[in-house]
Symmetry: C3
Subunit: 266 residues, 3 copies
């Protein structure tokens, strides 16, 4: 039983996601396929990288994550498959794996990358603008069936990595930025649990500044405060976030990705 996860910026109305499932099941009929997201902002590789990082740890060993956010489709950018620890990535070599790869390397897990250069592993006709259907879906299905990575392309060692903003140490704490706004309007920063360290023993004295608001003290969960109050807390994947209880912090603060996000430590 193999699992394939799909993430794209294709949206849900045109049938393109379903078509890729048809291709996968044509090669690996028993694959379980989970949609991670098809509402990545068009061409937003960074958003895909973040969601891949947050999602992969919750999938079983052997899962194949196929991600197609691919503004360079049909150009010289390489189609790629990778082993990242006990899981696989299939998609363009355009930096989508940056954040997950960093985590895997920190853990010391095995990595392996191949340039997908074997047309015999793809659909017979490859269209210039839909590699998701014609290259990546067949390759993901082969991996799901147990074909070894090395049979799908020639080894490479230099996958593209994005240059992502990191939070900076300040005299008072950390200065990061908003990196994601979720469906509820929660604002996630790139300041993580690791940055806060021992200050977390003293949560009530950590403050967060974002736009013109200051949140004093971290809460554990939304329901600790009344509806309509802004709160700061650690989100479900360890990032420091700002939320509005039963509402949208993004709308309240008129915040957007890239806004400065500051943590003041005791």
């Amino acid at each position: 039983m193999s699992i394939v996860s799909l993430m794209t910026d294709f949206g849900l109305k045109d049938g393109n996601v379903g078509v890729m499932k048809g291709v996968i099941w044509g090669i690996c009929p028993e694959a379980q396929i989970a949609d991670l997201s098809h509402l990545i902002a068009p061409q937003n590789i960074r958003e895909a990288a973040l969601i891949l990082l947050r999602s992969a740890p919750y999938f079983p060993d052997g899962t194949v994550h196929m991600v197609v956010v691919d503004p360079g489709v049909g150009t010289a950018r390489r189609p790629m498959a990778a082993r990242l620890g006990a899981q696989y990535y299939v998609g363009p070599d355009n930096g989508t794996i940056t954040m997950l790869l960093e985590r895997v390397e920190q853990e010391g897990w095995k990595t392996e990358f191949v340039h997908l250069d074997k047309p015999e592993c793809w659909l017979p006709d490859v269209n210039h603008v839909f590699h998701g259907r014609d290259i990546f879906a067949p390759v993901a299905a082969h991996l799901a069936r147990g074909v070894p990575l090395c049979e799908l392309g020639a080894p490479i060692t230099d996958p593209l990595r994005l240059d992502l903003p990191k939070p900076e140490r300040t005299p008072d704490g950390w200065l990061g930025e908003v990196i994601h706004i979720d469906h509820f309007g929660n604002l996630a920063s790139n300041i993580r649990i690791e940055h806060l360290g021992e200050s977390l023993d003293n949560k009530a004295h950590i403050s967060v500044k974002l736009r013109d608001a200051e949140m004093r003290g971290l809460v554990n969960t939304f329901g600790e405060r009344p509806a309509g109050e802004l709160v700061a807390l650690l989100g479900s994947t360890g990032n420091l976030i700002v939320s509005l209880v039963n509402g949208s912090a993004a709308a309240r603060l008129n915040a957007k990705v890239g806004d400065p996000f500051e943590a003041i430590l005791p």
Copy 2:
């Protein structure tokens, strides 16, 4: 072969639904998973309760319905699993089951409730703000694998019930309210087929009043009338509804959930 249905207010863009599928398949690899809705209005437990009521009867015995509309996540509200007739519910004990439970009790089917209090049945680390991933998904997967309900928590007998508005008898018929607006803009009321009784033998003489419109006579289906006409009829789950043929009754009437909805019987 076990079926799990998922309903949340998580939206579809952030990967959180896919992550829960990864967790479920990690424990129960053969589960068939159906998304019921992930577009429940944020924190709208009542909407989730209605869709659960309408959907459950069409799933096979043994289906596990996991519903996570959970404004109280991480607070004192109990995580719960329940047997409702031949199916299961997993999610917060916050009233989501109210309408389905009422139906199950009317039918005289067996019910059973447990407080999910056994961390050994969950993911090893439980985050305060994502019980869907860390508690409910693992528990749903255990149920799908056949683990008995009683092994997942201590029995309870007082699940929370919402106090839902019921239609009132009037001299002329029934006074209810709009309880749901669907994707097409159809307006569903809480007046049901059971309330209309023998009047249904005389459909042409039932009238419906909503906002400033009056619909005289119930039709059987939309296509009986020309495009652009407002019609009243029994919807697919037995509720009295108002529709605009090939259009949105909600937009035409500027109607919203809670608006008075009146049935005049012959």
Copy 3:
């Protein structure tokens, strides 16, 4: 292992798609079910026909395509199942199959049509406004299980066909129209690779006129030109399209379905 694809105009918020999966799995528990689209514009049979044409070729033999875009539900329009080559269609006899049927006939593949007139193959209670759940889902599940088409209804030979606009030959090339706008804002025309013929050997000299823009030369893929430039190219299913690199051509040109779309050949 059988595959069922689902396409509807139901949207994703009301649970109706999930309910149909419950019905299908109740009859055929091992079916793999792929959502093609549930965001077809309400009652837009033509859009459903186009997406069915584009998607079906990528699914394995035996796939059952269930399409429910059904403004005539509950009226005299016939419920239908069809064999189209090695695949099946289940849905209303309202023209949804027009484009795929044309293609199948061009290929000389076998076709077969039945009027779904056997209530014993449906759910016990059939609602006037939700044949997707009560008639089409059970029939799709029976086909997925291997029940022969002829056991599901009486043969018919005159499925309804839509009268679809075809591009016209002009002194300079072809005059067609916009037939689809995808999630990215790409504008697809009904002028196809077959119309362009040998002119494709000379792509640099094909021009496209749409709204007030003229695109000179066809590119192979978006990334050949800088972000923000309008380009014309062959889309992933062989239609001539206009795109804005890393943007929405539909928004830039304020274009809509039905707009004239002209190809000037060398």
